[in-house]
């Protein structure tokens, strides 16, 4: 069997070699390991050795010629073997794999204006062996600089509309939160930089300030309090799941879990409470809100925010509840819903919904939710999927509660049932995690006395 002789990479950085001298003639017998030719690498003159026994039938690179690594340099075979097919493809391209690296090298050197004179071997003879560098061929060559490209439109610079505004990042954020136009604010910092105190002064002066609270604590920016949450850096698996599932559906890879809960005991409880007096009346929705909040407090892994490079797990439960208004959807927030009494939740939910419709919500009443609920039951919707309110991990969609024929202990009975569907951000919540949360929720809803515990 014939053995091909290739131009080998005789140094870690060698891309091409110059065949200095053949040491064997065509027709000479050669043994494996024997030197066939001398090759000048980028570092030294090295020997190209035979990788098989036989007769050097063909020499395919001329002395003095340079060839990229991988080029067929010759053929070793037995005296009578037909080597025509092997020789036919010679001299064109290196055998498979890498693109002709020599060309890339040349291009780059020309672009950079460097000379491509190869180093003389004696210069490198005494050096430490060079560590292998990234192969030049791996680096995409720089696009050649075009001398004239009139057709390419020059990028238009951003219009400097009303003059440059200098401001600290914090001032920019505060201004945007308070709806202030930075152009209307006078900066008191170096070079007229607008800083926090300028925003506060402007907000206090202008009636536009939406919140009196903002001036009450001048040095305290609106930030979450210590201990309200803890952040976890993304593990490798979380990163991978996020990336791959994100590619699969939209920016938030959502999946849905639907469950049907029995409301018999909820109904019994409501009835019993209503009998105690009007002030004890609660709606099914109130119970569901309370149950969801309590379940969330037991499942911090669901009560979470996706922050891109980490997941924020909240220790407090601020429950958002989607409210339809004429303007569109808004999600007011019941703060610390898990710790509030059902009567408080009931009253607050009503109040928030009312003010939402009147467009009278304050910013802190519709920001900061850790998880949300949407209820379309009043529209007679059996079940639906709600869209996650980013950066939250999920949202619970509640359908209508209605009497249904169900089988209990083998007997058909009529029961009040409700269907809920949880949309889950798969970057945070895995299927089983969401399912466990719904399990807890079912236990609470089907045993509502647990909510008073």
């Amino acid at each position: 069997m014939a053995t091909k002789v290739f131009m080998e990479a005789l140094s870690p950085t060698m891309e091409e070699g110059r065949l200095v001298k053949w040491l064997k003639n065509e027709g000479d017998a050669v043994k494996s390991g024997e030197a066939l030719a001398e090759v000048e690498t980028d570092k030294a003159i090295m020997e190209l050795v035979a990788r098989g026994d036989g007769i050097l039938r063909k020499r395919l690179i001329n002395e003095g010629d340079t060839a990229p690594v991988g080029t067929l340099a010759g053929v070793i075979a037995t005296a009578d073997e037909n080597i025509d097919s092997l020789v036919a493809g010679a001299g064109t391209a290196p055998a498979g794999g890498a693109p002709a690296p020599a060309q890339v090298v040349a291009t780059q050197q020309e672009t950079a204006g460097a000379s491509s004179v190869p180093r003389r071997p004696e210069e490198s003879q005494g050096e430490a062996s060079t560590p292998p560098q990234q192969k030049v061929a791996d680096v995409p060559p720089a696009p050649p600089a075009r001398a004239a490209a009139p057709s390419a439109p020059a990028p238009t610079p951003a219009p400097a509309a009303q003059g440059e505004v200098r401001s600290s990042p914090l001032a920019r954020r505060l201004a945007s939160e308070r709806g202030l136009d930075l152009h209307s604010v006078q900066g008191s910092g170096p070079n007229g930089r607008i800083i926090k105190r300028d925003i506060e002064a402007a907000a206090a002066a202008g009636a536009a300030a939406p919140r009196a609270a903002a001036s009450a604590a001048p040095s305290a920016p609106v930030i979450p309090r210590e201990g309200d949450f803890h952040d976890e850096p993304l593990s490798q698996i979380r990163k991978t799941i996020a990336k791959r599932l994100g590619e699969s559906i939209g920016p938030i890879p959502t999946f849905y879990l639907t469950a049907e809960f029995d409301l018999t005991r909820v109904m019994e409880m409501r009835k019993a409470m209503a009998e105690l007096g009007d002030q004890f009346k609660v709606s099914v929705n109130d119970v569901l809100l309370k149950a969801t909040a309590v379940a969330l407090s037991q499942h911090p892994e669901v009560n979470a925010h996706w922050l891109g490079d980490k997941i924020r797990y909240h220790n407090r439960v601020h429950l958002g509840m989607a409210v339809a208004t004429d303007e569109g959807l808004i999600v007011p927030v019941i703060w610390d819903a898990d710790r509030k009494r059902m009567s408080d939740i009931s009253r607050e939910a009503k109040e928030l919904a009312k003010r939402a419709r009147e467009r009278k919500l304050k910013p802190d009443e519709f920001t900061g939710s850790t998880f949300s609920v949407s209820n379309l039951g009043m529209f007679g919707i059996d079940q639906f999927t709600a869209i996650i309110n980013p950066p939250e991990a999920g949202i619970l969609a509640i359908g209508t509660s209605e009497e249904k024929l169900v089988v209990v202990d083998g007997e058909p009975v009529v029961r009040n049932r409700v269907r809920v569907t949880m949309s889950c951000d798969h970057r945070i919540i895995d299927g089983a995690v969401g399912a466990k949360f719904l399990q807890t929720l079912r236990r609470l809803i089907e045993n509502p006395l647990m909510l008073v515990f």
């Binding site: 914090l170 001032a171 954020r173 800083i195 920016p221």
Partner: protein, 326 residues
């Protein structure tokens, strides 16, 4: 609670660990018969004998390597450099051997070793003896780097360092050995990689470590008289750095001064500022300012030396600047 010196806190940490674990030994120049160039190992030779308290020739590269070799086969050396300035001679062993052994052996050989000694400038010791090395060491993956500023931290961190299964560089403040602080009698450990909020305030953060913790506390005291309240974040561990603690503080105060003993270029403070710009960009109300040694070798003359070192007036000036007060 008893009040003891930083020196005695370090000694107590090593002594307790040597009593607890007979794989732990102390090796270095003058540690045994002389009882330590800074008297950290006073009484050790008598208590533990010459096999566990080992005087070496003046041969930093050699005995650092001896420590690494002993650690490879299961001992837990504490290697004392008379100062970190001399440890430069041993850097090949610290960087090329200790820091990389676990990785290049594919997890087979861990190096539980502590390299420790005084670091930073003292008084008028001039150029070759007045240097803070933490940024050099913290650059190296595989090393942990500690720089405690108080006796309490020194003891708790050194005990954790000796129990850690990785090479730990423990940088003691040369000027801190005589400082005193409360250290409980009962055993305690301080986890590596956790900063300590030494003082709480809402107006500006000073992020610092080692000897400069004292300067930061003095600055905070003075500024408090003007109604400026400082958050003093003592990093304690330089690598791994407590990024969370830095972020928490700066997001609260919106302003930061980074105070360190070493030089500016590629210093520890440069890394702290990088974390701040990444994690706290939208919370910054002023550029972060760094306070550090002048970009010169340390001069000898008193006046020149004072001018070169970071100190209380410089720290206060920096705070006033980020507060837009000047």
């Amino acid at each position: 609670m008893p009040v003891i010196t930083y020196r005695d806190a370090l000694g107590a940490a090593i002594r307790e660990e040597m009593q607890r674990d007979d794989r732990v030994f102390l090796m270095g120049e003058e540690v045994a018969v002389y009882q330590g160039a800074y008297k950290v190992s006073k009484g050790f030779l008598q208590e533990f004998g010459e096999m566990r308290v080992v005087d070496t020739p003046i041969t930093e590269l050699g005995f650092a390597g001896v420590g690494v070799g002993a650690a490879m086969v299961g001992l837990r050396p504490v290697i004392e450099f008379m100062t970190w300035n001399f440890a430069l001679l041993a850097l090949d062993q610290v960087v090329n051997a200790a820091a990389k052994m676990l990785y290049m052996s594919g997890g087979q050989y861990k190096i539980p070793i502590v390299f420790r000694g005084p670091n930073g400038a003292a008084l008028q010791l001039s150029a070759q003896h007045s240097q803070a090395w933490e940024s050099w060491l913290a650059h190296i993956p595989g090393l942990k780097v500690i720089a405690p500023g108080t006796p309490y931290d020194a003891k708790g961190l050194l005990k954790s360092a000796i129990r850690d299964d990785n090479p730990v560089c423990f940088l003691e403040g040369e000027m801190l050995y005589n400082t005193k602080g409360e250290v409980p009698d009962e055993e305690y450990l301080i986890p590596l990689g956790k900063a300590d909020l030494k003082r709480q305030g809402e107006h500006c953060s000073i992020i610092t470590h080692g000897k400069m913790v004292l300067v930061a506390m003095q600055a905070a005291d003075q500024l408090a008289k003007e109604g400026i309240n400082i958050d003093v974040v003592d990093l304690r561990t330089i690598r791994p750095m407590d990024v969370e603690a830095i972020g928490e503080s700066v997001r609260k105060t919106n302003r930061a001064v980074v105070l360190e003993e070493g030089w500016e270029i590629c210093g520890v403070g440069a890394q702290v500022v990088d974390y701040i710009q990444r994690d706290c960009f939208d919370y910054l109300d002023a550029p972060v300012i760094r306070v550090h040694q002048a970009d010169t070798p340390m001069p000898y003359a008193k006046g020149l030396e004072r001018a070169a070192k970071p100190d209380l007036p410089k720290a206060i000036a920096a705070v006033r600047k980020v507060m837009y007060l000047d």
